[in-house]
């Protein structure tokens, strides 16, 4: 069969055709080896005795017979006093806010009989616009984490709240009486009311001071804005309005400042055709970065740079743009980075519609970026400093000062809230030494983490789903947090504790209401009483004051870019030494949710690795060091040393090593224990600013190896290539089918469309035809759908060992393909290309084929077809032959090797009663020995249809949504009824069916219900291959 123009590969091992890769590709199911978790000594292994077999059979028969005889007594326990509007088995939704350190999302919490079972985005929010991220989806599971503390503690001893309050107030008074300093150390607090409580506390204890810091700091940017514009704030960015986006090391789609707001806007700018309102233009995105980040993977042009080059690159870019626009240049630095000239040309061309961002925490770099944006006229168009974003407020200098004070014995009492500096601050070890010496040290952590376990007291706070609160993620946007469940453990909110210790009424709900009534109610219009205002705000989950948008004023650059450039030039030492770059992962983040098995098992968007961090090296660097994938290396920098497994990462800058923060949590709980290594201590501190880079690093082979669990080459599609289809914008504008591949099957009558040859009669779909369209241009690979699906469908976590055996259970996966323009046979060309390949993300789930290959091979009819276009899977009929998985061309069927939810070897929150509360009661928890797969969220389809029937009507267009489509922050997944002409999916397919829409593996004519829209890159140069072909002609 004809190939598409490009060669795609899922990982370096596939490109190289490693022996293991071929072996795995040829056998879909790993054989359980002798050392596997549960190899039954009685029946497993080759030396089974016939008598043993008979014994086991006999026992089994007897056990089954006995078990069947017993009639278990089930209890039905109704409410004692049923809340008026709650009906058991019908979900209630509460608007609330996800807040984790500085991260924010406006959410709806689905509860069933008083327990939250799912988090959805709140569509009313103008920031997150109904989108969620993987972390937001997964935060639900942290609510049911049994490793949390059950109540306040003094050291390791449990105490009552009354005892804790008495002792802490005494201690605070003693410190205050001596005039000793009290420090409240927190991560970013975006709640105005919490800040008011802190102020009240400080009023009672005047020696108290509030110190905020962020594990992944943006303080350099705030400081730069202070010097450039006189406002120490982070502006809001309009990625949708930018035609040219240049990012220097900022992973703005994944982890930088407020990704949830940027994802949607960025995707808006990238949508074309029917999903983009018919527009045929899109933004162009340049990324200059060290490791291949998720944002870099989405860029049109990406160039690897070393971390030390970030500053000079910013200056060089400034100079090049200045030359084009006739401005003054800043000193002379020469740096040769691919695509730099092109980026400068595009920026200058789209002046006023361009945007430059940088991830560096060095204020000098940010000043240059400010100057560049100012020169490009971005302020007022794509950047608004008058609407500051509050999701990162940490002050590195204050935190540094606090640690200095603490070391000098100048701190009398310290209270940590949402902060774990012993773990996540580069100077954590120094702090750990002095904590014990302080008269009062206290942590509000929900578990005895690295910092809390060193404190005298732990007064645990509840999860945000149990709490009251509010948040102001950016100016003029207020959201409320309301509890969706009553307290699980004897915890107390941070604010209530502070109020108690400040001698004020401790009911934070009352305090919150009062604060809103005096502060925000006067800003509202159209309410006759505060109560109706309050109820409306709680219902919506948010409030946007009429005068919320701060008065717009021109933002004129008043900083000294030349001085900043000089500083950068002075520090820049061009060299060939190894450099290290620390980065935050989309899944684990800064490590605060490390004990969340859903996040641990979520594959990294780019490396597809889970349950580990690793030293990412380019192939060339790895060859130079003499190591290969999974070899252990010793990374040394700043006098610190660590052993990590190697990850060969295409797109990694040569002579650099990238390592993720957020791992190596020792005291987070069972799921996080022993996962990865902590690299925070490697972060450098420059003039008090935390920098996630380190120069003069050595990387040496350590001997031994540690296999990283990667899902990238699992489920290979066996050499079938026409899986991804992509084109370039220049071609798309001329011909909307650019990049499409139309397979033909040769018959005696000549080549025909595969759809015209079939053995089957097909199924009628008279009522509904559920289908999906996935826009590859909007999909940024964030994995929110993966975790959303996991939460909705009770998908089990299997752990690192099992993932290594290719037994992960995710119903939807994001396939990440690398590609290059080189011919498949051109090995040297491929090798060059693999150094910095293009990347495509493709969500892959059950395609619900109308001619489903799985259905015809099931010997027991456990998988059948419905008249609504669904490929149904009946667990209780499945006998586990796995023929269906074997015959599935998309490799989306999963086999339950174990009874994960009742097996002590899988301690991932599901084998205890608390963790089981997260289970969706509408979805069967699959037992051992059956196949499972995406059901198109049939439980939601059934529920939606029933709602319509109860109201004697047809379902509204788009009323029924699958969990993945609902979770998607960029609307890349469109789910709906293709029989309803009013639904979005029908409207999109109406035009795209003949343009961008394609079925994966169309040539085998399985007629999937899922269509993909081609990936279009905004690249204008000719790919090498075609150029070469033309030169040959």
């Amino acid at each position: 069969m004809e190939n598409t123009s490009k060669r795609y590969w899922k990982g370096v091992e596939e490109l190289r055709n490693d022996a293991t890769f071929i072996k795995n590709a040829n056998s879909e199911f790993a054989n359980p080896d002798e050392t596997s978790l549960d190899s039954d000594s009685l029946l497993g292994g080759s030396n089974t005795q016939r008598r043993d077999f008979l014994k086991a059979m006999g026992f089994g028969m007897a056990a089954v017979t006995l078990a069947a005889c017993e009639t278990p007594v089930h209890k039905a326990i109704p409410y004692l006093n049923k809340p008026e509007f709650t009906i058991p088995s019908i979900s209630d939704y509460y608007a609330s806010t996800y807040v984790n350190n500085g991260d924010f999302a406006s959410i709806l919490v689905e509860t069933r009989e008083g327990r939250p079972i799912k988090i959805e985005g709140n569509p009313l929010s103008t920031i997150s616009k109904g989108g969620t991220t993987a972390q937001v989806q997964a935060s639900l599971l942290s609510l049911y984490d049994i490793d949390k503390l059950k109540g306040p503690q003094r050291g390791n001893a449990s105490i009552g709240w009354d005892v804790a309050d008495r002792e802490i107030i005494n201690a605070l008074n003693t410190v205050a009486a001596r005039g000793g300093a009290v420090r409240i150390v927190t991560s970013t607090i975006i709640s105005p009311t919490t800040k008011a409580v802190v102020a009240d506390f400080i009023a009672k204890y005047p020696t108290a001071q509030h110190v905020m810091y962020d594990a992944n700091s943006a303080f350099g940017m705030m400081q730069a804005n202070q010097t450039s514009f006189g406002k120490a704030a982070i502006p809001s960015y309009a990625f949708d309005k930018a035609e040219t986006i240049v990012s220097i090391g900022a992973d703005f789609l994944g982890t930088w400042v407020a990704p949830i707001a940027y994802m949607r806007a960025y995707a808006e700018g990238r949508k074309i055709g029917a999903v983009g309102g018919g527009k045929k233009s899109m933004s162009r995105h340049y990324q200059f970065e060290t490791g291949l980040s998720m944002t870099g993977a989405n860029a049109d042009y990406r160039s690897p740079i070393k971390p030390s080059q970030e500053g000079v690159l910013a200056v060089a870019l400034y100079n090049k743009v200045a030359q084009k626009l006739g401005g003054t240049t800043l000193g002379s630095v020469t740096i040769d980075v691919p695509h730099l000239d092109k980026a400068a040309t595009d920026l200058a061309r789209t002046r006023g519609r361009s945007l430059v961002v940088a991830g560096s925490n060095d204020p000098d770099v940010q000043v240059v970026i400010n100057a560049l944006n100012s020169m490009l006229g971005s302020y007022g168009s794509t950047i608004d400093l008058n609407i500051p974003v509050y999701t990162r407020q940490g002050n590195d200098l204050q935190m540094n000062g606090f640690i200095n004070d603490a070391k000098a014995g100048r701190v009398g009492a310290v209270l940590f809230f949402g902060a774990n500096p012993v773990y996540d601050h580069p100077r954590g070890a120094e702090l750990a030494e002095v904590l014990a010496k302080m008269p009062l040290s206290l942590s509000f952590s929900d578990r005895a983490d690295e910092t809390a376990s060193l404190c005298k007291y732990i007064t645990p706070v509840p999860h945000f789903l149990e709490s009251w609160g509010d948040a102001e993620p950016q100016a003029g946007q207020l959201t409320l947090i309301q509890p969706a469940i009553s307290y699980i453990f004897k915890t107390r909110q941070f604010e209530s504790s502070l109020l108690t210790w400040a001698g004020k009424p401790s009911d934070y709900q009352v305090y919150l209401k009062n604060h809103w009534s005096t502060t925000y109610y006067p800003q509202s219009t159209g309410f006759d009483s505060f109560d109706s205002f309050w109820v409306k705000c709680l219902y919506d989950g948010l409030f946007v004051p009429q005068n919320g948008q701060t008065v717009a004023g021109a933002t004129t650059f008043a900083g000294n870019a030349a001085q900043a450039a000089t500083g950068i030039a002075q520090r820049f030492k061009p060299g060939t030494g190894m450099e290290m770059s620390l980065y935050e992962k989309v899944s684990i983040g800064t490590g605060s949710m490390a004990n969340n098995p859903w996040l641990q098992e979520m594959p990294d968007p780019v490396t597809k690795a889970c349950w580990d961090n690793y030293a990412a090296l380019s192939q060339k660097t790895a060859n130079y060091i003499g190591v290969t994938q999974n070899d252990l290396v010793t990374v040394k920098a700043n006098g610190k040393s660590i052993e990590l497994p190697v990850m060969i990462q295409p797109g990694q800058a040569d002579n650099t090593v990238s390592v993720a923060i957020g791992y190596g949590r020792e005291k987070a709980g069972k799921a996080a224990a022993g996962v990865g290594k902590n690299v925070y201590p490697f972060a450098g501190i420059l003039n008090g600013y935390v920098l996630f880079t380190a120069g003069s690093v050595t990387v040496e082979k350590a001997g031994g190896n540690h296999e990283v669990a990667q899902t990238q080459t699992h489920d290979t599609v066996m050499g079938r290539r026409a899986v991804v289809q992509e084109g370039r914008l220049v071609d798309y504008v001329k011909n909307p089918t650019a990049g499409r591949y139309f397979p033909k099957v040769v018959t005696p009558e000549g080549p025909v469309d595969p759809a015209n040859i079939t053995l089957w009669h097909g199924y009628g779909k008279p009522n509904h035809s559920w289908g999906m369209v996935i826009d590859l241009n909007s999909c940024i690979g964030c994995n929110a759908c993966v975790v959303g699906c996991q939460a909705e469908n009770n998908v089990q976590v299997v752990g690192r060992e099992e993932v290594l055996m290719r037994r992960e259970m995710h119903w939807i996966r994001i396939d990440r393909y690398y590609s290059s323009d080189a011919e498949a046979e051109d090995f040297s060309g491929l090798e060059i290309a693999s150094a910095n390949p293009e990347v495509v993300f493709q969500p892959m789930l059950c395609q619900h084929c109308s001619n489903a290959p799985c259905e015809t091979v099931c010997p027991v009819l456990a998988t059948t077809h419905s008249t609504e276009g669904l490929n149904q899977m009946t667990y209780n009929r499945c006998i586990g032959t796995r023929y269906c998985a074997n015959n599935c061309p998309y490799k989306v069927r999963r086999f339950n090797w174990f009874k994960y939810f009742d097996n002590d070897n899988f301690d991932y929150h599901f084998n205890n009663d608390l963790g089981k509360m997260v289970i969706n009661p509408d979805v069967t928890v699959r037992s051992r020995g059956v196949i499972e797969k995406c059901s198109f969220c049939v439980q939601r389809i059934q529920e939606g249809k029933l709602t319509a029937k109860k109201e004697r009507r047809r379902p509204l267009p788009d009323e029924i949504q699958s969990a993945c489509a609902q979770a998607c922050p960029t609307n890349a997944i469109i789910f709906g009824d293709m029989n309803n002409p009013e639904s979005t999916i029908s409207k999109v397919l109406e035009t795209e069916m003949t343009e961008r829409a394609f079925h994966v593996l169309e040539e085998i004519n399985v007629r999937p219900q899922i269509s993909y829209l081609t990936k279009i890159r905004n690249k204008d140069e000719m790919p090498k291959q075609e150029a070469r072909q033309e030169s040959q002609v």
Binding site: V73, N767, T924, Q939
Partner: protein, 431 residues
């Protein structure tokens, strides 16, 4: 002799098979006879009253009848005429307690007359909704032509049910007759065998040529006779075959009944009687099982629903004291679940009762006659599927089905059954 026993065996075997198969036939016929009773009752009128009917059924019918019969609250026949004018009724329905608190004379009179039982508030009902309810009450309480049609239809249903009921005793009679016949035949057979053996033993078999009788004693001859009978290979094989067949059938039946709890009637923590509440007092099922029209679970009522009445009625009864104790101790009552579907099967009450208009008794049996609730239906998948095959879809006045009905009419003259719209597909119940 041997031929005779073969005949007995065949007769007995065929009778046994007939007996067991007639059981299944009987089950089928009751189910078939029951189904017309579930057929939709055509509703009268349209417009506001139509909407009002639905609202009434979901919100009011638990406590109020449209006739002048008192359920919990007053019967609503003529309520428009007897209530004070203006929007008094609207106020009362939205929030009766505030009206009572405001000192309204008629409101207080009604409140006191009906045992000071607080009526639920319905702040969400619009004026149109309430007018709809009132229109429906007018319509339903006044005798109308449409109502006659409805009664007529119910009449046929009743006849059909009556037929099923009437056939009950006659079937039982047949069973008893057939059973007796079989037993008698078996006894006859055994007796015949015994008689033959005995007669052989008593009467000397062979008389010697010389006229002297062979000297074998009676016991000897009896022994011979018995052994010759037991050694008869045909008889032996018939007995063995019979035993094997019966044993196989029994074990297959036994295996099929594993996990089926038909007839399960556990003792409940409180001796609540449906016979009293639903049978004698005719309290609507909806009143306590509030979820039946709305959600998956019909729900066992919360103690506060019991307290709506038992706050004043029969407070001193030891069984009712248990509810008081539960409330005081803040410990919910732990009822024993009678109907246990396996986790892998999804069943939704609203789909069947609200949308499908299936009567409670169709699955739960004559609950109004049960002192202790018992599982009447087998709740097996075969039982579900059987009903889905036979039951017509309640498509009336439900726009969801309009297109499906039109499509079905084009293809078939048969009524639209649940099975025709995917009611047998796996993912309708298993997911």
């Amino acid at each position: 002799m041997s031929r005779l026993s073969t005949v007995y065996g065949v007769v007995a075997l065929s009778l046994a098979l007939l007996f067991s198969s007639s059981q299944t036939i009987a089950q089928d016929s009751t189910a078939a006879a029951g189904s017309p009773a579930t057929a939709a009752v055509p509703a009268a009128g349209g417009g506001d009253a139509e909407k009002g009917k639905a609202i009434f059924a979901n919100n009011c019918a638990q406590c109020h009848a449209v006739t002048d019969e008192v359920v919990v609250g007053p019967g609503l026949k003529g309520v428009k005429e007897r209530a004070p004018g203006g929007d008094w009724l609207h106020k009362w329905i939205r929030n009766s307690s505030s009206l009572i608190a405001s000192g309204d004379a008629y409101a207080n009179q009604v409140y006191n007359k009906f045992g000071k039982v607080q009526m639920s508030s319905f702040p969400n009902l619009s004026d149109g909704d309430i007018d709809g309810i009132l229109a429906y009450i007018d319509e339903a309480s006044a005798p109308k032509v449409a109502a006659v049609v409805a009664t007529g239809d119910q009449g046929t249903a009743a006849v059909a049910q009556g037929g099923a009921v009437a056939s009950g005793p006659s079937e039982l009679f047949t069973f008893v007759l057939v059973g007796l016949l079989v037993v008698m035949l078996l006894v006859l057979g055994v007796l015949l065998v015994i008689v033959t053996i005995l007669s052989k033993a008593v009467t000397p078999v062979g008389v010697a040529g010389d006229g002297t009788q062979s000297a074998a004693p009676f016991s000897q001859r009896l022994k011979e006779g018995l052994s010759s009978t037991f050694n008869n290979s045909t008889l032996r094989s018939v007995v063995i075959w019979l035993f094997l067949l019966v044993a196989t059938k029994e074990s297959i039946d036994g295996l099929f009944s594993i996990g089926i709890q038909q007839g399960y009637a556990p003792k409940q923590p409180i001796a609540y009687s449906h016979k009293l509440h639903a049978g004698q007092y005719k309290i609507d099922c909806n009143y306590c099982h509030i979820g039946v029209n709305k959600g998956k679970s019909a729900t066992i009522p919360a103690a506060n629903i019991c307290m709506n009445c038992h706050g004043v009625i029969k407070k001193e009864s030891p069984e009712i004291q248990k509810i008081y104790a539960a409330i005081e101790q803040n410990r919910p009552i732990e009822w024993i679940r009678v109907h246990n579907l396996p986790d892998l099967a999804y069943f939704n009450h609203a789909q069947h009762v609200n949308v499908g208009n299936v009567q409670c008794t169709t699955c739960h049996g004559e609950i109004e006659k049960m002192e202790v609730v018992e599982q009447r239906s087998s709740l097996t998948m075969g039982w579900c599927i059987d009903c889905h095959r036979k039951t017509e879809v309640n498509t009336k006045d439900n726009a969801y089905y309009d297109k499906l009905v039109a499509l079905h009419r084009k293809e078939s003259k048969e009524p639209l059954k649940v099975a025709n719209i995917g009611g047998l597909e796996c993912s309708k119940c298993h997911y």
